[in-house]
Assembly symmetry: C2
Homo-oligomer: 333 residues x 2
DNA sequence: TTGTACGCGTTATCAC
DNA sequence: GTGATAACGCGTACAA
């Protein structure tokens, strides 16, 4: 490998001078600079960022931990993060936990060993996140999508209660009173809060909540299918179902099809998070949509600020408002 | 930050000894080791991998470059890579080019500066990949999905010709002779070869190829929509269309719906790469499917071997065979 | 304007 | 068994 020393030798100057021009510090005679640039060029010299970060004590690197990179939500968030991060000169370490706390712990370890300057994470389990019992030593962290109660970290989340509430309100407005829920897991806020919005809306509209209409899934496709089946086979089934995330909505739709029910007639579906098939099923699906990319951008911005040493009296919490995309009449017959 | 020195001081030994126990080199008195482990524990010491890699001259880090992380194909591949890489102790730098050669160049630069031990990349442009004109200095590279002609790199790809051929054969077998093609871009093998499979099949089955049935898209949803429209509005439209990737298939299906055509009756669709909606449309879609995860695993394996210094007389090229998933009769009326 | 020399946190090579 | 110490490649006082 060619080092700064080689360049110095070739340009017949000291390493200090080379360093100066590489980092644009100025104070170098134009002729000298010219010689150095030429040497850099000819030797195909590439600064060793590893060595640099040793002395600078920062790696210009950000760790990003998501629970499921195959869920279309996260790639969009990641795009937002990456774009913003790159603008500030950071490169990403991306890692996937598969919703496993254990993997999250291992990844956290690996990233800290690598001395990332900061972390953006969607934890696998808010109650038992390794983020809390690990001694992070002041490493900046920003939470995305899932908030950790009483944590010292900034976070950017969605107003899930509002989103779910709006969805249910829409269903009530279009005439439904028998509304089923395929909920997310209770140990993460997106799960808990969407259920909360559902319950709150029913209460506000004075519709009695029935236990058998509320099923808790795990945000995965299969559970949407299973729970949909349970709901549809009730003796007095709901006329509408609110599904708490994209993957479960997918499963639910498959189930409805398999059961020979007619969407929009036998059963109306509204889902949290938009998906490809939403505009394909007939009638198209009304969904709660949110600014995924923007969530990533904001997270990256907040993290960079923290890395730069900004402090705030309280951890910041940015709450974005989701938007209901009405695609069908969704009326009950 | 607590360093190896702090541990040494606390355990009253030299840094050398601490290093020995951390790396399990043995040759340390059990009592001493015990003291050291305790010190590590109490100080919450985390080895600095950055410093280590300075002397070891390797970072245990792999750069992964994909053109579009939002295309469901890549997250699956990435999962395969990550799993396998982690087993070998590597952590990933993930980056997204958005199909831009310029971004690819920048990312390559950033990753090389960070001294990744190897690279797994799906290039944005096989003809003008920065991989070729950059002086990589022997850095191991494995290509995924898109092959670069005459490059010295290992690659893992799909037999696109076979996949497309099989799809067309299926259509011919089910009675179609008027078969349209929504092709991928010609400057990448997946595009070129799938077209080749289409052409080859038509020839073998003695069906004249018509120019107006062949449209070249860019692998993005919008182009599937546009080209579908063109095909459907021909005076003598095809009875079946083969779409060269998932996103374009998505666009095509939307188009068919918008145009009020009836899938499976007015027009039959077969797509390359499976997608969520494939089982949702009615009738369900027959698709060419491939082992995405496995592609990632193989790529990671090959890269690790290269990093470990294995050499081969020729660059290796692993060609996986795709599988046709027949979901409908697909007969022509 | 430029050069010397030290330090960043580790590992590895010698001595002891 | 254990300890000094020289690298690794770079940034930066400080000196010249």
């Amino acid at each position: 490998m060619v080092t700064i020393k080689d360049v110095a030798k070739k340009a017949d100057v000291s390493v200090a001078t080379v360093s100066r021009v590489i980092n644009g510090l100025g104070g170098v005679r134009p002729a000298t600079e010219e010689r150095i640039r030429k040497a850099v060029e000819e030797l195909n010299y590439l600064p060793n960022v590893i060595a640099r970060s040793m002395v600078m004590k920062r790696t210009e690197t950000i760790g990003v931990i998501v629970p499921d990179i195959a869920n279309p939500f996260f790639p969009e968030v990641i795009k937002g993060i990456e774009e913003q991060a790159r603008d500030s000169g950071y490169t990403l370490f991306l890692a996937n936990t598969d919703e496993s706390v254990e993997k999250e712990r291992q990844l956290l370890h690996a990233l800290r060993e690598r001395r990332v300057d900061g972390l953006i994470v969607t934890t696998a389990d808010e109650q038992h996140s390794p983020l809390m019992d690990l001694e992070l030593g002041g490493l900046p962290v920003v939470l995305v999508d899932r908030h950790i109660q009483d944590s010292p970290y900034d976070s950017v989340v969605i107003d899930n209660v509002d989103g779910a509430y709006t969805a249910i309100k829409h269903l009530v407005t279009t005439g439904h009173t028998k509304i089923g829920l395929i909920a997310g897991p209770d140990h993460v806020t997106p799960g808990r809060e969407r259920t909360e919005g559902y319950v709150q809306a029913l209460r506000d509209f004075e519709i009695p909540a029935r236990d058998q209409y509320m099923k808790e899934g795990d945000f995965k496709e299969e559970s949407g299918y299973q729970l949909g089946k349970e709901l549809l086979s009730l003796s007095d089934p709901p006329t509408a179902i609110f599904s708490a995330n994209n993957l479960m909505t997918l499963g639910l739709l498959t189930c409805i099809r398999d059961q020979g029910r007619e969407l929009g007639k036998d059963i109306v579906v509204v889902g949290f998070d938009d998906l490809d098939i939403a505009t394909f099923v007939d009638p198209p699906l009304t969904v709660v949509s949110r600014p995924m990319r923007q969530m990533g951008e904001i997270a990256a911005d907040m993290l960079v600020e923290r890395i730069q040493g900004k402090t705030f009296p309280e951890p910041r919490k940015v709450i974005l408002i989701p938007r209901l995309i009405v695609r069908s009449p969704d009326r009950v017959e």
